[in-house]
């Protein structure tokens, strides 16, 4: 029954995730090698002769056997060297470092937006099951998840930017008039506040708004659904009856008792939704010219540029591990039972 300490949980989690990460490395490597394009032919240039292509191939190390390439790759990984992106010309590490905050900021903004909407809506629906409010909320949320994100994005741009002109141009993270805040966290919203530049904050927020809404709409449904179901379950549970029979005020019953318990499935879903959004990001980033890692990966994929794809997937896998870790820790905070069974 002894509860594991936080550090134990962290270690345990990381150890448990290790096989997955190794699996990811192997699969990614094989997958990238299976891509049909010949990077050597691509990068040798159009007029290159066979010899020139061979030379490029040698330079890229693509002439070695697959196993050799794999071990070289793993060796580089251990040195923290993810290689150089042939399309951006930068090291993959640099690219990822500069782009990851953009993706994270966007995803988090979308997620926060979705949570801010979904949780109250879900609770509202759960307290009035089968009412028209409940159905209305369900329709709204379902509509959000039924639209392809790129379509939502383009449509919003057309409407709000092109037609109505109420949002700034979909040009990445900042309007051209501004330059990026000094890098502290890499999140423009945070960095601009830290450097006390409110105008910049406003500009960054304005750019963020539309893509975040696009993403948020997509995340709305699962969160609302889970909140509703989980609240509904909690509200009919025994301990809520106890709380009500003890004369606790409705507010405390709803939020202090029911909602806190309902949080557990919500947090789980949050994790899934987050990793899901990181994927959906790819399309949104492409539409909004958002300089994140998603659009980066797409470009690399289309160019058969191995290093960025591998780096991207590895980053995502690590992110996934970290995310799960955070969720586990959140569980420990919310639920004293967490981790006891294992």
């Amino acid at each position: 029954m002894a509860k594991p300490s936080t550090s134990q949980i962290v270690t345990q989690r990381i150890l448990a995730a290790l096989p997955s990460v190794i699996g990811v490395v192997i699969v990614t490597f094989l997958l990238t090698r299976a891509l049909p394009g010949d990077p050597a032919a691509f990068f040798a240039g159009p007029a290159a002769t066979a010899a020139a292509i061979e030379e490029v191939r040698r330079n890229l190390g693509l002439d070695k056997s697959l196993l050799e390439q794999f071990f070289l790759y793993v060796g580089d990984l251990f040195r923290g060297d993810l290689g150089v992106s042939l399309i951006t010309g930068q090291t993959v590490v640099y690219d990822l470092m500069t782009r990851l905050p953009a993706s994270l900021e966007l995803t988090l903004a979308g997620l926060v937006l979705a949570i801010a909407l979904a949780v109250p809506l879900g609770v509202l629906a759960a307290t009035r099951p089968n009412s028209w409010i409940d159905h209305g909320i369900r329709l709204l949320a379902t509509a959000g998840v039924s639209l392809p994100t790129f379509f939502t994005g383009l449509f919003l741009i057309y409407l709000l930017y092109y037609r109505l002109g109420v949002v700034p141009a979909p040009l990445g993270r900042l309007n051209i008039l501004y330059s990026a805040p000094p890098q502290i966290t890499g999140f423009y919203l945070v960095d601009s506040l830290l450097s006390g530049n409110l105008g910049l904050f406003g500009a960054a927020a304005a750019q963020l708004f539309l893509p975040a809404v696009t993403l948020g709409l997509f995340a709305l449904a699962p969160l609302t659904r889970v909140t509703r179901a989980s609240m509904l379950g909690m509200l009919s549970s025994d301990f809520i009856r106890t709380a009500r029979a003890s004369g606790l005020p409705p507010r405390q019953v709803l939020f202090g008792y029911a909602f806190r318990n309902a949080l557990l499935p919500i947090v789980t879903t949050l994790g899934i939704v987050f990793s899901f959004l990181l994927g959906a990001n790819i399309l949104v980033e492409k539409v909004f010219a958002w300089p994140g890692i998603g659009s980066y990966a797409v470009e690399a994929l289309v160019a058969s540029d191995y290093a960025p794809i591998q780096g991207f997937i590895l980053t995502m896998a690590l992110l996934y591990v970290v995310l799960n870790l955070l969720i586990d820790l959140l569980y420990v905070v919310i639920d004293p039972r967490a981790g006891v069974e294992s």
Partner: protein
């Protein structure tokens, strides 16, 4: 102090309207322990939930009164507004539930759950809440209350959880305690411990208790008076001794005969035939026991409404041809 009169409750479900309670009458005197006994589906818990105002959304009170009178208040529990009922709950009347482990908030320290109740019903300064809660834990004979205060329900055994539930229910010294199957799921030895504790506390605090149970023998050991329910009807209500020595309703008699007991031989164990009537049925017989009764007389028992009579000042029975 509690007088339930003609209480009727219906549940609207997808399959139809369930007449869960019909014209339920019983009363509880101050300091008295009243047992409500019946098989599952007899409406025992619905009665309790109705009195506490924690009925599911689907349930609706269609008739009746539940007059509650304590030293401080005199109200009809069924007519009070939600907010004033809330004041009463926990303070004047409280309830403990079966399955104590799920009846406690799984992610809140048990001590804090007690202070939550104290906080909303008493004027104690916050600093004293904890002390008072510890005091309550000690009063339900929980060893090492300081340590248990910080425990979570999952860390405690079923018996301990039920004691915590008792402490929670009694925290604000209610005048009436409704105990809904408080020992179901507990081992017999634990059951005895918990029941003895309840008994002692009720006596100490001069608290009236309603003990809801399916176990006739258990009720007979702890109750002053017993109300027997069957399919949403109260069929008999009498002091414990007279109920057992001289049951007047056929159902009561059959229930007694069907209950295994240390001194009863296998041959003496008599099953009750038939099933509970379907409470959704539109053409429910006036006497809901009629389908299982071997004294059924269509001329007599088919009459509406069901006859309810006092055979003695404190012995009521709902039968046309009592034993």
């Amino acid at each position: 102090m509690l007088s339930v009169e003609d209480l009727s409750v219906e549940f609207r479900t997808r399959a139809g309207v369930v007449k869960a309670l019909e014209a339920v009458n019983f009363s509880v005197q101050p300091g008295e322990t009243v047992g409500i006994v019946g098989e599952s589906g007899s409406g025992k818990s619905v009665t309790a939930f109705t009195l506490m105002g924690v009925l599911d959304r689907a349930g609706q009170v269609t008739a009746g009164r539940a007059l509650f009178q304590s030293n401080r208040v005199a109200v009809d529990l069924l007519k009070e507004s939600e907010s004033s009922l809330r004041q009463l709950r926990g303070q004047e009347l409280s309830m403990i539930f079966q399955n104590p482990r799920t009846a406690l908030n799984p992610i809140r320290q048990v001590g804090k759950q007690i202070t939550d109740v104290l906080r909303c019903h008493s004027d104690l300064p916050p600093a004293d809440l904890r002390l008072k809660a510890l005091e309550m834990l000690a009063s339900v004979r929980i060893p090492d209350p300081v340590k248990r205060y910080e425990a979570y329900p999952y860390e405690l055994s079923g018996g301990l959880c039920q004691r915590i539930m008792i402490a929670l229910a009694l925290a604000c010294s209610p005048e009436l305690l409704i105990a809904d199957e408080p020992t179901t799921g507990l081992d017999v030895t634990t059951q005895t411990t918990v029941m003895n504790l309840l008994k002692d506390l009720a006596a100490q605090r001069q608290m009236a208790t309603v003990l809801i149970t399916h176990d006739l023998a258990l009720a007979s050991e702890y109750c002053d008076r017993i109300v027997v329910m069957h399919a949403g009807h109260v069929v008999e209500s009498a002091p414990t001794h007279s109920l057992f020595s001289q049951p007047r309703h056929p159902y009561t008699a059959k229930l007694i005969a069907a209950t295994p007991e240390p001194h009863k031989s296998f041959a003496e164990l008599m099953p009750i035939g038939g099933n509970l009537p379907d409470l959704k049925a539109m053409d429910l017989a006036p006497c809901r026991f009629s389908t299982r009764c071997d004294r059924f007389d269509s001329a007599l028992c088919g009459q509406t409404p069901l006859k309810r009579a006092a055979l003695a000042p404190d012995h009521q029975v709902a039968c046309w041809q009592p034993l």
